[in-house]
Each structure stands twice: as structure tokens, then as C-alpha cells.
């Protein structure tokens, strides 16, 4: 059984113990406003100015532009509900992050921690000391020590100045006389100019990917050193690579067809069957390996395990809270992933996350209301011929277990009449639990006119 499914089962068990918490977090909504936005902007500006001042004048302008674009993007994301600053998950994860800073005597003013509402299982960092953990990552972690290890890895990138050095190195290369001479020599030729230019850029791209992979090893190494000062146990930490690996192979906790069976909604099997995969050209293994940004999880696991075997790190898997607290945070993460999809107008994924949540919390009125709301939105857009605005197009999945691919197939294939029928039956089945806003009810009534 995949770790993700085990996680879901544990979550299901826990949710019965603390249903109230789920409902309250679901119903109240969350805070997406960063209280220290102005001081963060100043930090970004100051860091950019400091770093730019240290550079050769030739590349200062380009560097400034790249950093300004990045800063604009991150501020935009902060202003557009891209990050979570709620009263439960954010303080909890920030505390783990701050604990690492404290135990390693790192200057807190130089680092910032955010939670990205993205469902992608990932964490990332910027040259200015900002470390970001995606909600998708939170949902697959088993304990605090694994989260701490991920944060240590990202801090490793920051301390080793990987992002900044990579930008500078690239700019220096593109501004070097050698590189300019190569470009000039190619352009002087009459034939195969584009092909050679493409080859030059591709070689450079592969070099960068190779360099990035070496940086990941370095960040792992420094991360382990930072981690060893935290008081967390190193025993189960390398398992996080199994969790990351399994997240790449989509496995879902429930099936879309079981949702419709439970609701007694008759769906033709063909509507849930994704198209057969087509391809034109395939990457060679060498090419695929060259494109990887990260080393293989399996290799990283072996090396991390070996390191902790040589440097045994006793401690606890939970230092600042407990398993129950983490599960509550995971629940918030599950809901937030869905809410983020809705805020981003990605209703196909929103509905998918809600269906998953509905399997876990079958009597939750807020989830039922949200599913009804999503179904009405899908029908309304279909009626206006604007379904493409809120539902992604179907895709041919790599695995038969890709339930999201099945739902997209259904949403993109069922005609309006069928979608209204699904919405009607769902509404009738769950009417006592659905507390939809007036607008949704109006839209629903319009559909049936």
C-alpha cells in the first residue's frame, strides 16, 4: 500500500476523533494575507541592492532585471492568495522552521518562510533566503523530522547561495568574450545556423542541469549537518525520499467511479475511460537523465541513510507538537489545496479534491455544499460554452490509477444534459446537508429552465 494511502487511512481515522476541527477550519476560511508584507518588500529590495553591488558592472543590469522580475512574481503571489497564513498550519510549520534557525544560530531576519497553496509535492527557496513549502508536500510527510529535513535542505541551498551563484554564473557566461565569439562564429556561417545555435544552448542547458544536480547533493549534505543540530531523530528521515518518489506516481485514495456509485448516479464506463496515449518521438534515456533537475530519490535515500548510520542522530520524530497536530495540519492542507484550485478557477481539480475529501468525510455538509457549487459552476460554464475557462482538457495518463484523468474525461465528454442530471441527483441526495449560497441556487435553477 502506498504511503499516501496509508496517510489517508490514518487521516480518516483521526478525523472521526476531531471532526469539529475540520468543520470549523472548513467553514471559517483562512487567512491569505501576509502581515509583514512591507518589511518583506524592503528585505527583497535590500538583498537585491546588496547583491547587485557586488557584481561586475557588465552583468549588473541583467541581474537586477532577473531579480526584480522574481520579486514582482513573489509579491504578486502574496497579493493573490498564493500563500497560506492561517492560524494553525502556518504557525506550526513556521515553528519547525524557526527551530532549525535557532538551533543552528542562523540570523532569523535573513530568512522568511511561506506555505505555497500548490498541491505539487515540492519545496523551494530563493536567493534572498525565502524558503517555501508547498501544501502538497505537507500532505505526504509522516512526521516533523521529515518536514525539518526538507526545510534544512532548502536552507542548505540558501546558505550555499545556489540560486544567486547560478544566476551570476549564467550571466557571466553569456557576457563572456568566449561565448560571444562562439555565437558570432556560428552566425557567420551560411548553413545550419539555427541548428548549431540550438545545439550550443542545449549543451549549456544540460550543463546547468548537471550543475543543479550537484547542487542538490550539496544541499542534502549541508541539510544533514543543519538537521543534526535540531534534536530531531535521523532514524526515519531518509524515508521521505520514498514519500517523494511515490508522490510522482499518482495514487489516489478513492476512485471517481466509487463516488458516483455512492451517489447512485449512473455513469457510462466510457465517460470515465481516458484516451489511449499517443506519442511522436521519445527521449533517449541519456537525454531524459540529462534533463533531470534532481538526483534520483533512491540514490539520495541510500546516501542519507548511510550518513545517519555513520553519524547516528538520536532524537524524536516530533519535537514541537505531535502526530495528531500534524494530521490536523494535513487536513487543512487537503482542504486548502481544493480551495486554492477554486481560487485559481481550476474547477476540475477543485471538484477532484472535493471528491477525495468527501470519501474521507462522508457527512460533512461543507464538502457537500462545495461539490454542489462546483457541479453548478461546471454546468453553468458548459451552457455558456466556456468550460475551457475552468476545466483543464483531458489527458492520456501514464497509469490506469490516475483518477483525476478519469474525472477530466467525464467533465469534458458528458453533454450538458448529463451534467445537469448528475447535479440534480447529487442535490437531491444531499439536500439536507447542502447550504449553498443564494447565487449558486439561482444558477442551479437557471440550469433547469
Amino acid at each position: 500500500m502506498s504511503p499516501r494511502i496509508v496517510g489517508w487511512i490514518k487521516l480518516l481515522f483521526l478525523c472521526f476523533l476531531c471532526q469539529g476541527t475540520w468543520v470549523s477550519s472548513f467553514a471559517q476560511g483562512n487567512n491569505y494575507t501576509y502581515a509583514d508584507l512591507n518589511s518583506y518588500k524592503s528585505h527583497l529590495d535590500n538583498t537585491a541592492a546588496d547583491n547587485t553591488g557586488k557584481l561586475d558592472q557588465k552583468i549588473q543590469k541583467d541581474y537586477k532585471k532577473i531579480i526584480a522580475d522574481k520579486n514582482t512574481a513573489i509579491i504578486k503571489q502574496l497579493n493573490e492568495k498564493g500563500f497560506l497564513f492561517d492560524a494553525k498550519a502556518y504557525p506550526y510549520l513556521s515553528t519547525i522552521f524557526n527551530h532549525i534557525l535557532e538551533k543552528n544560530s542562523l540570523d532569523k531576519s535573513q530568512f522568511h518562510f511561506f506555505i505555497d497553496r500548490s498541491p505539487e509535492v515540492n519545496a523551494y527557496s530563493y536567493e534572498d533566503g525565502t524558503v517555501v513549502c508547498n501544501l502538497g508536500l505537507v500532505t505526504v510527510m509522516e512526521n516533523e523530522s521529515q518536514l525539518a529535513m526538507v526545510f534544512c535542505h532548502e536552507l542548505g541551498h540558501c546558505l550555499l547561495k545556489h540560486s544567486n551563484n547560478a544566476i551570476i554564473k549564467q550571466l557571466e557566461k553569456y557576457n563572456s568574450p568566449e561565448f560571444a565569439a562562439k555565437i558570432k562564429a556560428i552566425k557567420r556561417q551560411n548553413y545550419n545556423v539555427n541548428k548549431q545555435l540550438e545545439g550550443l544552448l542545449l549543451t549549456d542547458f544540460f550543463d546547468r542541469r548537471k550543475h543543479t544536480r550537484s547542487q542538490e547533493w550539496a544541499a542534502d549534505s549541508l541539510g544533514m549537518i543543519l538537521f543534526s543540530k535540531t534534536g530531531y531523530s535521523g532514524k526515519n528521515v531518509s524515508r521521505l525520499f520514498d514519500l517523494l518518489d511515490s508522490a510522482d506516481h499518482k495514487t489516489n485514495a478513492c476512485t471517481v467511479s466509487s463516488f458516483f456509485q455512492r451517489e447512485k448516479i449512473d455513469i457510462d464506463a466510457g465517460l470515465l475511460r481516458p484516451a489511449k496515449k499517443m506519442s511522436f518521438g521519445s527521449q533517449s534515456k541519456g537525454m531524459a537523465d540529462s534533463l533531470k533537475t534532481h538526483p534520483d530519490c533512491a540514490n539520495r535515500k541510500v546516501i542519507m541513510q548511510a550518513w545517519f548510520d555513520q553519524h547516528p542522530k538520536t532524537g524524536a520524530d516530533f519535537l514541537l507538537s505531535n502526530e495528531e497536530q500534524l494530521e490536523k495540519v494535513k487536513k487543512i492542507a487537503f482542504f486548502e489545496e481544493a480551495a486554492y484550485a477554486k481560487d485559481s478557477d481550476i474547477y476540475g481539480f477543485y471538484l477532484f479534491r472535493l471528491i477525495e475529501n468527501d470519501a474521507l468525510f462522508p457527512s460533512n455538509g461543507a464538502i457537500k455544499t462545495s461539490i454542489f457549487d462546483a457541479l453548478v459552476a461546471v454546468c453553468t460554464h458548459e451552457k455558456k460554452h466556456t468550460l475551457y475557462e475552468i476545466v483543464s482538457s483531458p489527458y492520456a495518463p501514464d497509469s490506469d490509477n490516475d483518477e483525476y484523468a478519469k474525472l477530466l474525461k467525464l467533465l469534458n465528454t458528458a453533454d450538458l444534459k448529463k451534467m445537469i442530471e448528475i447535479t440534480d441527483i447529487y442535490y437531491q441526495n444531499n439536500k439536507p446537508l447542502i447550504a449553498a449560497p443564494k447565487e449558486t441556487i439561482n444558477d442551479y435553477n437557471t440550469l433547469n429552465n
Partner: protein, 512 residues
Amino acid sequence: MKSKFLFFVLILFSFKGLAQDASKVFDGVKNITLRNIGVITKNNVVKGYFSFYEFDKVNRKTLLYRLNLVDANLNELGSKDIEGPKDWSLVSSGFDGNNFCFKFFDEKTRTIELKVYDEQANEVTSNSIKVNYKPTGSDYKNYSLMATPELDINDNHGFVNYIFNDPNNAFIVSYIDGATKNSWQKTYEPQGKSKLMVPNYLNADDEIILTGVSRVERGMYNTKTDHSILANSTKDGSQLFDISTEFGDNHVVPINAIFENDKIVIVGLNYKSAKTYTSAPDGLAFIEVDKQGKLLKSNFKTFEESLGKFLPMEDHKLKDGYYLYIHNIVRSRNNTNVVIAEKFKKATSAGGIAFAVISQGGISPIKLQFGNMVAIEYNMDGNAIQAVEIPKAAGSTDFFPSYAGLMAPYLLAKVAEILGWTDYMYTLKNDDNSEITFSFVDHDRLDPEAKKTDNFGQIKYKDGKFTVDKIPIKNAKADLSHLFRAQSGYVLQVNYFKKDKKLTMNMIKLNN
């Protein structure tokens, strides 16, 4: 009139996906030397799109082209660099379930080349033919117009292509299969009274390719025809049979064929006259033959005896002097035959007469007026199960050339179809034939308050029912909009926003 699919200068290969893959945006649209863009089909199923553009110069005579493919949902499939002559274009493409086939044309050497690639983008086999017509001659133009650019696809078993060629305006069947690597060409020249032979792909399996052949006698206004079904072996092209579909006073024009166990069922239009190009069909014909071409059964049904139950008739004809132009007949998953037709009649106008006078005989005052679409479902005995009239605004063609004034209405309708003047656009289906869609243009308002605009209409046959949905062809906010064929149930709308220099591609789902 039929909305022609214009080829856009856009870069399919560099799709910048939004969160919704069903919608694509291209910022800062640039002019690139895009040679062609088109649809990859598997018969009437859209499987994806290709773009073909110049990437580099290899030497004085050769260019490096890049071919990019996306699937029917605009998900990237891959790309391939191909060296070829300077005057190359990619005419059309198909997918047989295993391999892709691309039909290239070298304008300078007038060579058509079919190249088959597997799903790893390796070239598997090719087949080329030189067009002998003089490029300046009218025959070259006329016969190019008559030959469909699209490939015909044999499910899982290769590709068929027809062209006309000199000498003697022969038609040539080319076949190529990536799986068996079988590749051949067979030439058929008009013989006896026939001056022209027109091929029409019917169907194929792993052994046989079936082609409907019309032999046309000379004479524009009094054209006698003779029809047959030609069978070639997929292995080497050898002729297996060529059986006539003339049965006494029943003259059958085959439209499609279905393989059923050891027999072949051919569905066609039945005429009571040998002038099938100029007269209206009397009804449908159902012919069964075995795989050796031996006739097993024939059955003829008139439109009048069955359609009268469903459509308004007057004196055994459609009301108001309309004729029915049959565009296509498709076999459904329910073992019925679904027919799409369009009502039309010959018309003159005072303006047209004045225009004809001014043009001093260059044009005639004759137009064709097209009325409603008509969708009909027949059972296998040829009895109409249902017929539905789908209202659309009456549109009319441009004025025909002066000599066309004497042509029979049915011949004018054929000419109008070749010129893309009918409102019917195309037929699509899904892989198992459970959904069949017919697309058309309607020049009317969608509702009384809406502006008068051209609309794209889709008639869908599903679960024994016909339903209709329409959308405006133009996006209200865009400066320019064009529609492309898409998978069944969808239409791909490409919009250009001049001010923002932005191009969007939206996969619009029809409601029915």
C-alpha cells in the same frame, strides 16, 4: 457559406499552457516561416494537429524543417526535424492507430511523397509519385481541385491516397502501411466512353481496399455516369474485383462500405437515371457482396416512401421546390445509417439579372439557395426511422458562371460543394461511432436580441437522437476568430487580439 479553415501564422510547438490546458495563449505573436498547419485525422476522428515550419538551411537546395505534433486536446506529442527540398509543403496528415503518415508536396518537382513515421518518430517507409500535368495548364488546376488533399485511413493498416495524373487523366491509388511496410501504386485510365474516372474511398480492412469509381462520359450538360466498386489487395495492390453498381434502372453511387464477417455491405445513393451528376437521387441503396465481389443482395428504397412521414412534401417533392443534397452517410454504432443533407433550390434575382447584363455574359443570374439542414436515420432495410429538419438561415451562393445557367440544380450543388459554398462543413465521429456530429454554418441570430452573425452549428447523433447546439464563430472581444476542426463534440476557436498582440486557442465544448 462554408467557413474555410485559414492557416494561421502561429507556433503550435511552443504552447505556453495556462492553468487550463483547454486554452492556450501566445504572447508577442511573431511572424515565423510556418509552412503548414493542419489536422491529424483517423478518418473522421480528429486525433491531433501538426505544424510544419522552416527551421534551418542545410545547403543551397535543402532546408531543415521542424514538424511538431499535439494531440486532440493540444497536449504536446513531440517533434521531428526533417530535411527536404526548398519548395516543400505538408499537405495533410493521418494516424492509423499505429503510425503517422504525412503527405508532402514538392511544388518545384511536383512530387507527392507519403512518409510514414512510427510513434518514436522514426521514418518507417515512404511512397512518392510525380505529377505529370504541366503546372500552367488548366488540367493541373482542375484535377488538383478534384483530388481531396486528405489521406484516407485504414484503421491500424495504413493509408490510402488518390490523385489524378497525366496521361489521360488517370487516377492513381497509392497505399502505404508502416506495420507491414507494404507500399504500392495502381493506375486506372478511363476507357471506352468514359473520359474521366473519379475515385471515392469507401473502406478497407487488413486485406482489401474498397474504392467507389464513377466513370463519367464527356458532355457537361448531359453527363452519363457509370459506377462500380473496385477492390485492391493491401498486399500488392492487385485488383481483386471491380463490380458494377448499375442494376437495370437503378444506378447506385456508393458512399460507404462496412465489413461484416465475410461480407461487405455497401450503402449508396440510388438514381433512376444514368445521369447521376445532374439528377436528384431517388433514394438509398443497400448492396451486399462477398469478399470475392459476388453479389449477395440488393435493396432499393426511395426517399419519398419514407421521408414523407417526417418532412413536409408537396407533389412527391419537398415543399417549396427544395431538393435534398446528401452530404454524407455514416454507419452508427446502433447499426443504422445516419444521413446528413441540406435543402437547396435554384434561384434568380433581379440584382443577379442586372449583374449578368453588366458582366456581358461573364456570369449568369443563377444562384443556389440553401435552406435547412436535414438529418435522417435509416435502418439496415432502408426504412427511415427518423428525419429531423434543423433550421438555419437561408444562404445563397455567389452567381455561377454564365454557362452554368443551363446546368441541372444537382450539378450546380455539386459544384457549390467543391467550391465550399454549401453551409455544411464536415462530419466527425468518435472512435466507436456512438457519437456522430455534423457541422454547419448558420447565418442567423442565436436569439432575437443577439447581433446577426455567422454561427457554428453542430448536429449530434447519439443514443438514437439528434440534438443541435450553436455558437457564434467570432469571439466578441477578438479582432479575428477562426474555427478549426476538433475532436467530436468540440470546435477549436483561434482568436487574435490585435491590441495585445495575443493569440488564444480555446477548445470549445458544444453542449449537445
